[in-house]
Assembly symmetry: D2
Homo-oligomer: 142 residues x 4
Amino acid sequence: MTEAHQASEKFTWPVRVYWEDTDAGGIVFYANYLKFFERARTEWLRSRGIEQRALVESTGGMFVVSEAQIRYLKPARLDDELIVTAWPLEAGRASMTIQQQVFLKTPTGTHLLCEGTIRAGWVNAVTHKPARIPPTVLEALK
Amino acid sequence: MTEAHQASEKFTWPVRVYWEDTDAGGIVFYANYLKFFERARTEWLRSRGIEQRALVESTGGMFVVSEAQIRYLKPARLDDELIVTAWPLEAGRASMTIQQQVFLKTPTGTHLLCEGTIRAGWVNAVTHKPARIPPTVLEALK
Amino acid sequence: MTEAHQASEKFTWPVRVYWEDTDAGGIVFYANYLKFFERARTEWLRSRGIEQRALVESTGGMFVVSEAQIRYLKPARLDDELIVTAWPLEAGRASMTIQQQVFLKTPTGTHLLCEGTIRAGWVNAVTHKPARIPPTVLEALK
Amino acid sequence: MTEAHQASEKFTWPVRVYWEDTDAGGIVFYANYLKFFERARTEWLRSRGIEQRALVESTGGMFVVSEAQIRYLKPARLDDELIVTAWPLEAGRASMTIQQQVFLKTPTGTHLLCEGTIRAGWVNAVTHKPARIPPTVLEALK
């Protein structure tokens, strides 16, 4: 997959860093990048017509993260403007893998702060047992 | 109500301040004291034999906060050992009001950092409509 | 102060509800409305030209919340679109009081979910001792 | 390394699941396991005599996470009692790698819910540039 091709598939979502995101080290707390990742995945799904609360109600299922890998390169700070990306690496019948990045916006360009890979599986929302992704969802993710 | 009498009714719960609780100002983020309050209320209920997840499953109802008032006197910092209190000011048929405080533990004594009053109403867990607190819960709270 | 007058002074900020904001009761966790309030206050300050990280660095001071009062009327849920408001009730030399509300956006209008009053004092960022709000900040808040 | 040997080196820390930790899926939000990991690492350091706030003040440095890998096997729920472990896989001059697990405590035993590997580097607390771990810290970690 070429860079150009990747770029064309990247969904981007702006995130601003607030006091709630930072810690006493003066930087964004490491767990909170997973919140930013989740917001971008949710907005990527929404851009494909998938609203997750409606999905639980209509299908009885939901995505649950099964694996996460994150590399923290540079810290984000209070008031920073971030761009969070999401694009699918692969989608199977029961799970999908999403590549995600966090960039800092500056007047001179963007700088990569953090990147990760998230694997999410489809489960029954009550029993939490793995299940097949509903066809309508699979179709929307193509 | 005398101090001595109050003290005898106060439920206390230890809380340690971690990185997750602090913000870039070097102190505990103001919303997080409401987490500490909630932990102490939950443990106070547990000390009375009330487990909230089991309660939702058995009664279909739960407590939801309807009002909160908080005064922040001094900030808590990373690694601080706190004592959080909870004691009932009043309990009606559909709601209760809890007084809560956060103290800093130091070698020479405890210092009040924060105090608040929380009003919680009983609601149906699905419709979120107000309802009467189940008799078994009311009995446990006496 | 008339409603019309109030409305003209209200700063509004959109907030979307994500998984991170909700709890096992299916609704936004009560402490998280204070995060939404803080985001709206920060954006209101930014709209007046005040960036808080830069402010700490240039003045050595910051705002710290000293009092919060919140009334929770109806719960917000996953995927909800909220409008958060902020407007100054009063501003003194060392503190200010902000009125804040959270509205749910629906196709047929907006509904008040939560409202509160936040008092914030100016403190030295290192010693946390109360201090006078710098003139440039006071001027921007007028 | 045998299981028995590993067990002898494992630091364990109890964590209770509160409302703040859960999401509308009825389970602990995936980012919050990183909070549990961090609490266990902090308590493991404290058990070795290392208090992080004091460390920043005395050395001007701190640990910052550079990599995290997490596998989520089964979800934790409200009121669950968890055991979080931390043990060092390797410690270099500028970073260390910690293995961590989250177990559910039940009357019949413990069940693995989540496991991960955290790499943390030592940085200057102001510039965030990588630096060598101070000898006193290295000694305490042995």
